[in-house]
């Protein structure tokens, strides 16, 4: 009986994200709390709601603003759960993300950062115009499992090979993802990156695939 009721509440969490309904999400999370549903299950329902939308992203049914509306609602839901999740944070995968030095464009990085955070990664966002040394120090300090580098300009993008080389020298198992308008798959490979996401839609799949390759020491 309880599991039926719990399932119903978790479905309503998932639906509230899909319908970007913040009020409904708050009510459902309150109800989930009353029914003592574990935080991990609520989080999973939140992510499932977004995942459903992500598959339809960029179709006429799901323009990017509509997806972002749900991403923001999911983010609010995660914030409500955050105190209960403190103990889980230590288990989350640490990601360092930033835009390379000289590049002020932060929007793409902000979207990716929220997608990582909304998907359970522990995100350390270094912002824009990040010097090479700041990336290296942050990877070391946060013991980053993933480093996500962004550049929207072909001239600033040319710093990526150096960052990748230096990070790999101190932390060979850190998975390095690159993205941004001037990049493509071949460039990403030639820079020595472990993965490349052409857009926000693919960033989670590509990160997971890159993590598997690095862990299995497979060549990309």
């Amino acid at each position: 009986m309880n599991s039926e009721k719990n399932k119903e509440v978790l479905n309503s969490v998932e639906k509230a994200v899909q319908e970007h309904n913040a009020d409904e999400l708050n009510k459902s999370i309150d109800q989930a709390g009353k029914q003592e549903i574990p935080t991990t299950e609520i989080r999973q329902a939140l992510f499932q709601g977004l995942e459903h939308l992500r598959k339809k992203l960029f179709t006429p049914e799901m323009p990017l603003p509509k997806f972002l509306l749900s991403l923001d609602v999911l983010h609010q839901g995660l914030k409500r759960l955050s105190s209960a999740e403190e103990s889980e944070k230590s288990r989350a995968i640490p990601v360092v993300i930033g835009v390379v030095e000289g590049d002020p464009h932060d929007l793409g990085k902000n979207i990716i950062s929220r997608i990582y955070a909304a998907s359970g990664y522990q995100v350390y966002d270094l912002g824009t115009r990040v010097p090479v040394d700041a990336f290296i120090n942050s990877v070391k300090e946060k013991q980053a499992k993933v480093l996500a580098l962004s550049s929207m300009i072909s001239t600033t993008m040319m710093q990526m090979p150096e960052i990748i080389k230096r990070v790999k020298a101190i932390s060979p198992d850190t998975v390095i993802m690159v993205g941004g308008a001037p990049l493509d798959l071949n460039l990403a490979k030639s820079f020595g990156a472990d993965g490349y996401a052409e857009s926000a839609v693919m960033v989670l799949e590509e990160t997971e695939a890159a993590m598997e390759r690095v862990s299995a020491k497979e060549k990309w």
């Binding site: 006429p60 323009p63 603003p65 509509k66 972002l68 923001d72 590049d103 929220r114």
Partner: protein
């Protein structure tokens, strides 16, 4: 220096909503929902209120033209594709250098903790606004060229086609960008962020308006279909 704010107001009201929605993927009469509509309206109003659209341009004579580059007083445009385009321009000809910006003030409406949707819509509206500002600056030099009996190609920005982004500095050599509060960094990035720099060719006869006319690549930035006839 060209100040374009009064014209931009009319354009913003008349065009920006449709252009932004189309870019965002709202087509075939699909409309954004109320939440998105509300932020979009707010962002259009805020970008207009806080933007300071302005531009600058100069017409520079072409000193020399060869297969690889167009040489002007501010510097060489090293691009075989643009050189070929210039070769199709006949009679009296010149190069236009232009910069347009809306400033950075629109960003003051955004906070660090704002939703991604709000950041995204403000950025999209600001990008369209600077594009509109560039169109208005372009109209000014097109009118000037026309008054001299000259025709013009489309405008092109550094990084287009085979023209290296680092050649951005040629445009800044030709114009005093400080007059409109624009600077270029050592990485060839323009500050304010929402700034457009470009060049165009003007001549008595223009054989093609873009290098795409004789380029067979099916690239995403293609502006016109291949159209050069045999022997051209």
């Amino acid at each position: 220096m060209v100040i374009v704010k009064p014209e931009l107001e009319k354009k913003l009201i008349a065009e920006i909503r449709g252009r932004v929605l189309s870019n965002l993927g709202y087509k075939n009469r699909i409309a954004p929902n109320n939440d998105i509509e509300k932020i979009l309206s707010e962002s259009i109003a805020a970008v207009y209120e806080s933007s300071n659209p302005r531009g600058i341009y100069v017409l520079a004579p072409i000193a020399e033209l060869n297969k690889k580059e167009i040489i002007t007083e501010p510097g060489a445009i090293r691009s075989p594709m643009f050189a070929r385009l210039a070769g199709l321009c006949k009679g009296k000809r010149a190069m236009v250098f232009m910069i347009a910006t809306i400033g950075d003030e629109w960003k003051l409406h955004l906070g660090q903790n704002d939703s991604v949707l709000r950041q995204f819509l403000f950025d999209t509206v600001a990008s369209e606004a600077v594009e509109l500002a560039a169109e208005l600056v372009e109209k000014q030099w097109r009118d000037e060229a026309e008054s001299k009996g000259l025709k013009a190609t489309m405008r092109f920005s550094p990084g287009y086609c085979d023209w290296d982004l680092r050649e951005q500095s040629v445009i800044f050599n030709g114009l005093d960008s400080r007059k409109i509060g624009v600077e270029i960094t050592k990485h060839y990035v323009m500050i304010p962020e929402k700034t457009i720099s470009a060049v165009a060719l003007i001549a008595e006869e223009v054989g093609a308006v873009a290098p795409c006319a004789f380029c067979l690549k099916d690239c995403r930035w293609r502006k016109i279909p291949y159209q050069l006839k045999k022997g051209g």
